[in-house]
Symmetry: C2
Subunit: 494 residues, 2 copies
C-alpha cells in the first residue's frame, strides 16, 4: 500500500540516525581518547551537530507530515514508528529556543561550580546556582506537562521511561519502603556472623583487562562489533553495530572493574542485539533508561552475583589474577553480595541501592511539582537517610545531597530508572525461572544461552516497538511487580 509521507519521514529519521552515529562515536572518543587541548574544538563541533539534529527534529513541516502519515494505510509496525517519531518531535519542540539556551547556561554554570563546591561542602554556594536551575526545570516541566497532559514530574520522567507515571512509582516504591529497611537490618546482622576473606593484590591492569575480556566473551559480547577501553567514568556508548564500552582499573582491587564490565556488558548486549533489520528507524532504539538498566542489572546482579555464576567466575579469576582463597566460589559469592549501608549511591550494594533512589525520588518529585523548595532538601535528605539506612548526613552535603551529578546537570526524573531497572531484572529472572526448567543449576554449569535467548526474544529484539508497560506485560505476563525484586533479595540474602 502507498505510504509516501511515512516513507519520507522514515528517510528523514534515517538521516538523523546517521548523524547520531557520528555524534555517538565522537562522544565516546571524547571520554576514552581525546587529549585535553582537543576539548574546545570538539565541543564546538558537537554543538554544531546538536544544532543540526535539533533543526532536523523541529523541521517546520514535521507536524503536518506526521499528521498526514497517520492518515496513510500503515501497518502496526509503521504506526509504532510514527508514535516514536512523534515522541521525538514533541520532546524537541516542547521548549522554546530561548528556554533551551537559558537552561543550557544554567546547567553548565551549576555543574561546573558543583565540581569544586561538592568537595568544599559548600551547600550555600551550590544553592545560588541550583535555585535558578530549578526554576528553569519547573518551567520546562510545565511546558511539557501542558503539551502532554501529564503532571510536571511525569512529563520529565516520560523522557527517560516512556509510559511510566509517578502514581505507579509511588505505589511500587511505597511498597519497597515498607519492607526494605527491615530486610537490610536482617541481612547485615546475618552477614556480621559470616567471615569473608579479602583478596590480596596488587592486580596488574593487563591481567585485569584480559580477565574482563574473557568474561565479556563468556557473556556473549561480540568483539567483532564492539570494544572495551578505559575512561574515568565507565559507560557503554557507541552504536548498536559498534558498541564502545569503557571501564577503569584499580591495581589494589580487581572486583570493581570486573563487575563494572559485567554491568556495561548488559547494556552492550542490549545494543548489539537491537533489531538489526529496523536500524535507522526510531523503533530500532533501546526502549528506555529503565529497560537499559534492567539489562545491565540482569547481567551484573541477577547473573553476575548469582551463587552459581561464582563457580564460573572463580577459575577465571584464579587464571588471570593468580590463585588465592578469596577467589574460591563460596567466598567470591560472599564478596559480591556484601551488604553495607553507606552514604554514596554509586558505591551501594544491590540491597541498599533502592533506598538511595527512593530518597531522591521522594525529594525531586515534590521539588518539581512546587510542593517543596530547594532549601528543604538537606533536612529531607537527612531524615530519609536516617529512616531508610540509619545514617545521618546532617551538615554533610559532600556525601549527602550534593553527591550526584544529576541535579547539577538538570537531570530530573531519571533516578527512578535505576531501581525500576533492578525490579524489571528481578521480574525477568522470575519469569525465566518459570519458563526455563533448571535455570539456576544451568547457570552454575555455565549454561547461559537460555538466559540470553530469553532476553533477546523478550527485550533486545523488541527495540522501542512497545512503550515500557506493554513490553513488561508482554515479556512477563504482568505489569511491573516489585514482589519479584523482594523475593529475589530474600532468596539471595536471607
Amino acid at each position: 500500500m502507498s505510504t509516501p509521507t511515512y516513507d519520507e519521514l522514515a528517510s528523514h529519521w534515517t538521516r538523523l540516525h546517521h548523524f547520531a552515529h557520528l555524534q555517538s562515536i565522537a562522544g565516546w572518543d571524547q571520554a576514552a581518547n581525546m587529549p585535553p587541548k582537543g576539548n574546545e574544538a570538539r565541543a564546538a563541533a558537537m554543538a554544531e551537530m546538536a544544532a543540526l539534529m535539533h533543526r532536523m527534529r523541529t523541521e517546520p513541516t514535521l507536524p503536518d507530515r506526521l499528521q498526514r502519515a497517520e492518515q496513510e494505510p500503515l501497518s502496526d509496525f509503521q504506526r509504532a514508528n510514527l508514535r516514536e517519531m512523534r515522541r521525538v518531535w514533541r520532546a524537541a519542540n516542547a521548549l522554546p529556543e530561548s528556554l533551551v539556551q537559558r537552561r543550557h547556561l544554567a546547567t553548565s554554570r551549576c555543574e561546573h561550580a558543583w565540581r569544586t563546591q561538592r568537595p568544599a561542602n559548600d551547600w550555600a554556594g551550590f544553592l545560588e546556582n541550583f535555585r535558578p536551575l530549578l526554576a528553569l526545570a519547573r518551567e520546562e516541566a510545565a511546558l511539557l506537562a501542558a503539551q502532554s497532559g501529564l503532571s510536571k514530574y511525569d512529563a520529565l520522567m516520560d523522557r527517560f521511561e516512556p509510559g511510566m507515571r509517578s502514581a505507579q512509582v509511588d505505589r511500587v516504591f511505597g511498597e519497597v519502603r515498607q519492607w526494605l529497611p527491615g530486610l537490610i537490618q536482617r541481612v547485615t546482622e546475618k552477614q556480621a556472623q559470616e567471615p569473608v576473606i579479602r583478596p590480596q593484590g596488587p592486580f596488574p591492569v593487563a591481567a585485569q583487562r584480559a580477565l574482563c575480556e574473557q568474561v565479556m566473551r563468556r557473556l556473549g559480547f561480540d568483539f567483532e562489533a564492539g570494544r572495551l577501553d578505559v575512561s574515568t567514568h565507565p559507560f557503554c556508548g557507541g552504536v548498536p553495530e559498534d558498541v564502545r564500552m569503557t571501564t577503569r582499573y584499580k591495581e589494589d582491587d580487581a572486583l570493581p572493574a570486573l563487575m563494572g564490565v559485567i554491568h556495561e556488558t548488559g547494556h552492550g548486549r542490549y545494543e548489539q542485539n537491537l533489531p538489526r533489520e529496523w536500524l535507522g528507524l526510531p523503533i530500532a532504539n533501546a526502549r528506555s533508561m529503565g529497560l537499559h538498566e534492567s539489562q545491565s542489572l540482569s547481567l551484573e546482579m541477577q547473573l553476575g552475583s548469582h551463587p552459581g555464576f561464582a563457580q564460573q567466575l572463580s577459575p577465571l579469576l584464579m587464571k588471570h589474577l593468580g590463585a588465592q582463597a578469596a577467589w574460591e566460589p563460596e567466598n567470591l559469592h560472599k564478596l559480591l553480595t556484601r551488604v553495607k549501608p553507606g552514604f554514596i549511591r554509586v558505591d551501594a550494594d544491590e540491597v541498599t541501592y533502592p533506598c538511595h533512589v527512593i530518597l531522591r525520588y521522594e525529594i525531586e518529585r515534590p521539588l518539581i511539582e512546587g510542593e517543596i523548595e530547594c532549601e528543604d532538601i538537606p533536612a529531607l535528605w537527612n531524615a530519609k537517610m536516617q529512616e531508610l539506612l540509619g545514617i545521618s548526613t546532617e551538615g554533610n552535603y559532600t556525601n549527602g545531597c550534593m553527591q550526584d551529578v544529576h541535579w547539577p546537570e538538570g537531570l530530573i526524573g531519571y533516578f527512578p530508572c535505576y531501581t525500576l531497572g533492578a525490579m524489571y531484572a528481578a521480574q525477568w529472572f522470575a519469569t525465566m525461572r518459570k519458563e526455563i526448567p533448571g535455570l539456576d543449576a544451568g547457570i552454575a554449569r555455565g549454561e547461559l544461552q537460555p538466559v540470553f535467548d530469553w532476553l533477546l526474544a523478550k527485550v533486545w529484539s523488541q527495540g522501542s516497538r512497545w512503550e515500557t508497560p506493554e513490553l513488561v506485560q508482554r515479556a512477563s505476563g504482568e505489569v511491573l511487580n516489585p514482589a519479584h525484586f523482594q523475593a529475589h533479595l530474600r532468596a539471595r540474602y536471607l
Copy 2:
C-alpha cells in the same frame, strides 16, 4: 569596515569546519579502532556527512555571495580567505552529481577488485575496471580544465598542489632525470664498500612504542593535543587541535616504526601549529599535499636521517631496545641512509624514491591528456624502471604498475607531491643553513628549536594564506629549485 557578505561566508565555512572535525575523528577511528562489523553503519554515516558537506559547498547562493563579497572592502587576509572559499566551491561544483556518483562506483569497484588482482598479478582483470575509471577521470579532468583554463592534468594536480603546473614539474623532474640515475650508481657502489651491522631483534612492541613517544616529544609533538595509535596503514589524521597519528610495529625490526613515526610527526607538527587564531576559516588549513610532505620529510629525511641526529637517536634506541653495536651513531646513520634500487615505491630510500615518482608522473600525465592509453602502461613502466633504476618489471604487475592504491582509487595528479615535498624540504634546510649559523652542529647537539622556529615562521603559521609557489618564494627567497635537493643528496651520500 562593513563586510556582511564576507562575514556570512565565514560563518558558513566555520560550520563546514565543525562538521569536518567530526568527519576526521570518525575517519581516524575507522582506521585505528573500529571493529569489522561497524563498517557498514560507519560507511553510511560517513556518506551522509559527505553529502551534507557537499551540499554546503555547492549551496546555490554561494556563487552570488562570493561575487558580492569580492566587492566588499576586504583586507588582504580576507581576500585570501575568499580565494580559498572560491577554490573549495569550484572543486565541489566542477562535477555534475551524476558524474560524481559514476566515479564513486567506478573507483569502489576498481579498488575493491585491485586488492585481490594485485597479488594475483592479474593485469587483464585490472584493466577491465581501470579502463572505465580512466574514462571518467578524463571526463572529470576535462570539466575541471574547461572551468579553470588549465590543462587537464594541471586541473587535477591543482587540487593537491595549488598553483603547481606540469610545465614546472616537467622542468624540475627533467633536470633530476639527468643526474639521479648516475648518482644512484655512484652511491650504491660506494656503499657496497661500507660494512653495516644489522640490529638483532626481537624488539617488544611496548618498548618500541615508548621509544617512538620519546622521540615524538623530542621533536616537539604536543601530546596534550594529539595521540599515537596503531593502524594497518600509518597516517596522520585528526584535527589541528587533536592530531591523531598512527604507526605499526614489527617485532623483528624497530627502525620502520620509528622512522614512520618521525615522518608522521612532521605532518603532526604542521597541523598542531597551523594558525590557531584563524581556525575554522579556509586559510587556516595546511596549504597542500606537497607542503605537507615537505614537513614529514623535513623531519624524517633532513633531520631524522641527519648524521648529527643519529647521535641523538642512538642513546634512545639503546635505552628502550637494549644496547647493541648496530645502534652506535655511525652505524645507525648508515642503516638509515642505505640506498638500494627496488620495485616498491613505499619501501624506497630517499635517493631512489624520486625515480618511482618521476616514472608515475611521466605515465599519468599523458594518460590523462589522452596521449597514451592504459594498455601502454606496463611497457612504459618497464622501460622507465630499466632506465631510472636498472630494474625489469616485465610481466611483474604485482610489484610493477599495480603496486599503488592511488590509480585504482582514481587519485591522479597526486604522485608529484611526494617528490616536490622532498625538494621543498631540501630547499628549507638549504635556506636554514644560510640563516641559522652552526645549524648542523646544533642538530648533533640536539638543538632542534631553531629548525622548528624556522618551520613555524615560514610554513606552519602561514596556513593557506599563499598559493604554494608564493609560499616557497617567501620562505626561501626563490622558486622551487631542485639544485638544493641534488646538493643535499650529494653532500649526504657521496
